[in-house]
């Protein structure tokens, strides 16, 4: 609204004008007002915008910061995640390990239980053994009696004959009768000893104490041994200390028996010097009767052994001095029964002192019983004779030969020592083998042929032939050749035996682990047979080191320098694996490989390992791969890999098998080489023997020289030192085989000369003596040609190998 004032009245016209104008004015005023307002608003809004922009910038900065933090967080989260996973894994593993430990603990517990059980079993066993030993003693006691009766009658008859009452016998015949009589007497003594021993062991020996006047006992001993002393030119003296009682209470018969035993031993082992019986009082008040000699003495290690029944100081003693080896054992047992003891002190080479200690008065209550006396007459009733005879045959225990049908592998044990046999037998059972025991070489070979066992354990010292010859014959026979043979022996023929294809050698006495290891070897070898490897390498040193590297049991290696030789070898036999060098003088390895594949007569190609010093291009490698299964670049670790690869090829089933026939032919050819042109010296005093052996060996192409005794042998060797092998009889006039062998060995140039001893009776002692004299091996008479040939093959040096 506009108020207008005027001194004049507004004309109508003016009024109309004003009315028209007023609207416009209003609008203009309005407009002006609103413009002003707008202006204000605009200013305000501009301010706000600015503010907003600042805030936005701030926000953005914060945001960036946050984003960066988020990224960092994410990264650490990722890391955490992987760590957590790792931790979880570790945790799981720990859990599993705990479980494994728990399982092991359980197993341990089980093992403990098993051990306890085994112990109980052992205790039972031990009782059984004791009982069995008792039975044995009873049996021996009975048996000895029954043997004595007929022996006595033949002794008497022999005596009658020797007396030649009718005067109708020749001197010679009388001599025979004397021989029968003296042999019978020896036998009777042995039986008496056995009887005594078994009586003591069976607790059947009765002690009858009486008052014994010592001087009388001593006098009787003096009388008995004086002639012997004179005979041997050994001084015999009895010294009695002063202050000793003249009378003691004991069993006179037994005391005399002990002293006689000790004295006769003393004389037996004393060749010069003196034997003294010294009676004194021991420090603990007992009566001491010491037999002192200046004889050969007893080694410390043997001092316990000599008191054991059937044993002597060493195996060689028996042959020289004779005797049953029971005397000391009986003496000790008797002394114990008398309440005393027998002890020994000795220095080898200087003499021995065996002392019998006796209480002055026999007191039954103080005697420890030698064996439990629980065995009453109820079990001593003699069984039927036939059965008892069977029991003393050398069949120490029942083996599994009647149980061949039962499951499990079969082990043939060729071994004459019962004790060791028992150990192996038990171990075999434990490892689920059946076990058959052969007690000599002949039986062993027979059983090997007829039973075809899975594995053979072989002793080297067998009563009839040497273990090496058995091994040779086993390996010679195509039906047995594949059977793994492990040696267990007290004698070291390891190198030879392993060369001949034994899979292992364990020295007696052997630990249980060692014996077990033998079985593990059996297991390992059972699926495989002798493998042949051909090595082609022109560098001699390399070749030899490779042969050394590869050689092992059951692997036969042929090493050649030229490709042409390799082809020749491949023609002659088949191989399970071949190792070639690429660089050969006559053709390259590649060419050789190519040639091999082209030759038709090479029926089966062995897997080839290329063993090369140079690196190969991809193309070369591809080319070689066509022929070769494996390529090895020589370097620090290459020997390891070579062995590994060879083993792989040798033991995998796919390795090429040779036609058996060809293999045998080549094998045989090489075997005959052992004789062709060989110079063998036969030493024997028996013309028939010489004749037969010469004929047999000459037929094989050997060149034979003969000598009739040791002396001749030595001079023959002097004439012809090129001799390849000596076959030496032991029992000869002039110079026997032992001495001759020793003499030969004294000469340095014959240190390696193979000497085979030929013994009349192959006892353990003979064998040991032969070996000690320096023989390499032995043969038992009568000589079996097979044995002879195989022993010669074993020992004749290989042609071209040395």
């Amino acid at each position: 609204m506009i108020e207008l004032a005027s001194f004049a009245t507004f004309s109508e016209h003016q009024k109309t004008f004003l009315e028209h104008v007023s609207e416009n004015i209003g609008i203009a005023i309005n407009t002006s007002i609103s413009r002003k307002k707008q202006q204000e608003l605009l200013e305000r809004s501009q301010g706000l915008t600015e503010e907003l922009q600042t805030q936005q910038a701030e926000l953005k900065a914060t945001n960036d910061e946050l984003e960066a933090q988020a990224r960092a967080l994410q990264e650490s989260q990722t890391k955490l995640k992987s760590q957590q996973s790792e931790l979880e894994q570790t945790n799981d593993q720990l859990g599993e390990q705990t479980q494994a430990l728990e399982e092991q603990r359980d197993i341990l517990n089980e093992n403990n239980a098993a051990l306890n059980k085994a112990q109980t079993l052992l205790e039972e066993r031990s009782d059984e053994v004791q009982r069995a030993s008792q039975y044995k003693s009873e049996f021996l006691a009975n048996m000895s009696h029954e043997l004595r009766t007929p022996l006595n009658s033949s002794l008497i008859l022999a005596k009658l004959l020797a007396d030649n009452a009718g005067g109708n016998l020749t001197t010679e015949q009388v001599q025979y009768a004397h021989s029968i009589s003296s042999a019978g007497n020896d036998l009777l003594n042995l039986i008496n000893d056995i009887l005594d021993l078994s009586k003591v062991e069976a607790g059947k020996l009765e002690i009858r104490p009486e008052s014994v006047f010592l001087p009388r006992v001593l006098h009787s001993l003096e009388r008995t041994f004086e002639p012997l002393a004179r005979d041997k030119k050994v001084k015999f003296e009895i010294i009695v200390d002063a202050g000793l009682p003249e009378t003691i209470s004991t069993d006179r018969q037994r005391v005399e028996q002990i002293l006689k035993n000790l004295l006769s031993n003393a004389f037996k082992f004393t060749d010069k010097g003196q034997v003294t019986l010294h009676v004194s009082r021991s420090s603990d008040g007992k009566l001491s009767l010491a037999v002192i000699d200046t004889g050969i003495g007893v080694h410390q290690a043997q001092q316990e052994v000599i008191f054991e029944a059937f044993r002597q100081a060493d195996g060689t003693t028996n042959r020289k001095y004779g005797g049953t080896g029971l005397g000391l054992s009986i003496s000790r047992d008797l002394a114990r029964l008398l309440g005393g003891s027998v002890g020994v002190e000795s220095t080898p080479g200087e003499g021995s002192r065996f002392t019998l200690l006796l209480p002055e008065t026999y007191d039954e209550s103080r005697v420890e019983s030698a064996a439990p006396k629980a065995y009453t007459s109820s079990i001593s009733v003699p069984a039927p004779l036939k059965q008892r005879v069977e029991r003393i045959k050398p069949k120490p225990f029942a083996d599994d030969r009647r149980k061949l049908a039962s499951p499990g592998r079969l082990l043939l044990l060729i071994e004459d020592e019962t004790q060791f046999s028992q150990i192996i037998f038990d171990l075999a059972h434990e490892l689920h083998y059946k076990c058959v025991v052969a007690q000599d070489a002949e039986e062993g070979l027979e059983l090997a042929k007829s039973l075809l066992p899975d594995a053979i354990m072989l002793d080297m010292m067998l009563p009839d032939h040497s273990g090496l010859s058995v091994l040779d014959q086993l390996k010679d026979d195509p039906t047995n050749r594949h059977i793994p043979v492990h040696i267990a022996s007290a004698h070291d023929y390891m190198e030879k035996a392993l060369q001949m294809g034994a899979i292992g050698y364990v020295m007696k006495p052997a630990k249980r682990e060692e014996l077990k290891a033998a079985f593990i070897k059996f297991e390992a070898k059972l699926s495989q047979k002798t493998k042949r490897v051909l090595i082609v390498e022109d560098d001699k040193l390399q070749r030899e080191s490779m042969v050394k590297l590869i050689s092992g049991t059951g692997i036969e290696i042929t090493a050649v320098a030229l490709a042409s030789e390799a082809l020749e070898s491949l023609k002659q036999g088949t191989f399970d694996c071949m190792v070639i060098d690429l660089k050969l003088p006559d053709m390259s390895g590649e060419q050789l490989l190519k040639k091999m594949t082209e030759r038709e007569e090479l029926s089966s190609l062995p897997p080839v390992i290329v063993y090369t010093g140079r690196s190969l291009s991809r193309d070369e490698e591809d080319q070689l791969r066509k022929y070769s299964r494996s390529i090895i670049i020589k370097g620090a670790k290459s020997p390891e890999r070579l062995i590994d690869e060879i083993n792989l090829f040798l033991h995998s089933a796919e390795a090429g098998h040779s036609p058996e026939r060809r293999k045998m032919l080549t094998a045989m050819r090489s075997r005959e080489d052992a004789f062709e042109g060989r110079r063998i010296l036969l030493v024997d005093d028996d013309a028939r023997n010489l004749f037969a052996l010469t004929a047999a060996l000459e037929q094989k192409g050997a060149h034979i020289e003969v000598a009739r005794n040791g002396k001749e042998a030595l001079s023959k060797l002097k004439e012809d030192p090129r001799t390849d092998l000596v076959l030496m009889d032991i029992m000869m006039p002039e110079m026997d085989g032992f001495e001759a062998t020793r003499e030969i060995r004294k000469q340095k140039r014959f240190a390696q000369l193979p000497i085979i001893a030929v013994t009349a009776k192959a006892t353990k002692n003979d064998q040991v003596l032969c070996m000690e004299a320096g023989a390499n091996d032995y043969l038992a008479k009568p000589i079996d040609l097979h044995q002879l040939f195989s022993v010669i093959r074993v020992w004749a040096p290989r042609l071209g190998r040395d």
């Binding site: 995640k81 979880e88 991809r618």
Partner: protein
Amino acid sequence: MDGSLTHQFAVEQQLLLESINLKYNYDFRHYSHKSMKRTLVHAMHRLGCPTLKALQEKVLRDPECFFELIQSLTIPVSEMFRDPTYYLSLREKVIPLLKTYPSIKVWVAGCSTGEEVYSLAILLQEEELLERTTLYATDINPRVLEKAAKGFWSLEAMNKFSQNYRMSGGKRLLSDYYTANGDSVTFHAALTKNVTFADHSLVTDAVFSDTHLISCRNVLIYFERELQDKTIALFYESLCRKGFLGLGAQETIQFSKYADHFDPFVKKDRIFQKK
């Protein structure tokens, strides 16, 4: 989460992995359950999905989204010469044997962004074996393979890598093998001349043949036992006789079904030898 929710999650997790297997042929079904769960929870947040079901829908519709997911499933955390003694053992014990072969195949399984591949390549180079070696580097995740092939790392990472390299018995300087440009480095292409990068799933793909060395480190820990066994079987088939298998520091085949198919070669560094 209470019991029923946990169960619900497990069901949805299984459905998701099944569907990924069907749709993309990536089989994560036997990956370690627990670590998978963590990964998925994380991915749900990142990809803005309130439930696994929503994630499943998104992943099935959108391949891009799937590859996003893979990145977190295949955990690419690695270093060059990680656990230096492992490489030292390779150098001292394994390489001398590898040298006896005229040509060598090495497989790095689960190579991730390639740190291990380059480490091995450098090792083989220094032992003069790289020339006759063919190296296969495989991973399930194609994106990491791309990165691996480039040989590209931050300069910053080189500190740690160099330290590891020295401890692993390295004969030179690690910097001899790369060129720095700005704050990143590029490893020389010569190292990867004989390397083949390949997309390969240990779960679904087939074996390589006659490989002399397989290095597969910190992969098995993400697998369930059954899948571990399967993978080790795959390695066994791929190795030549007496070939070597190297695993991560927390991994072993001792408890796997195939434990007796291998001999421990360097036990502490988890190197095994095929029997």
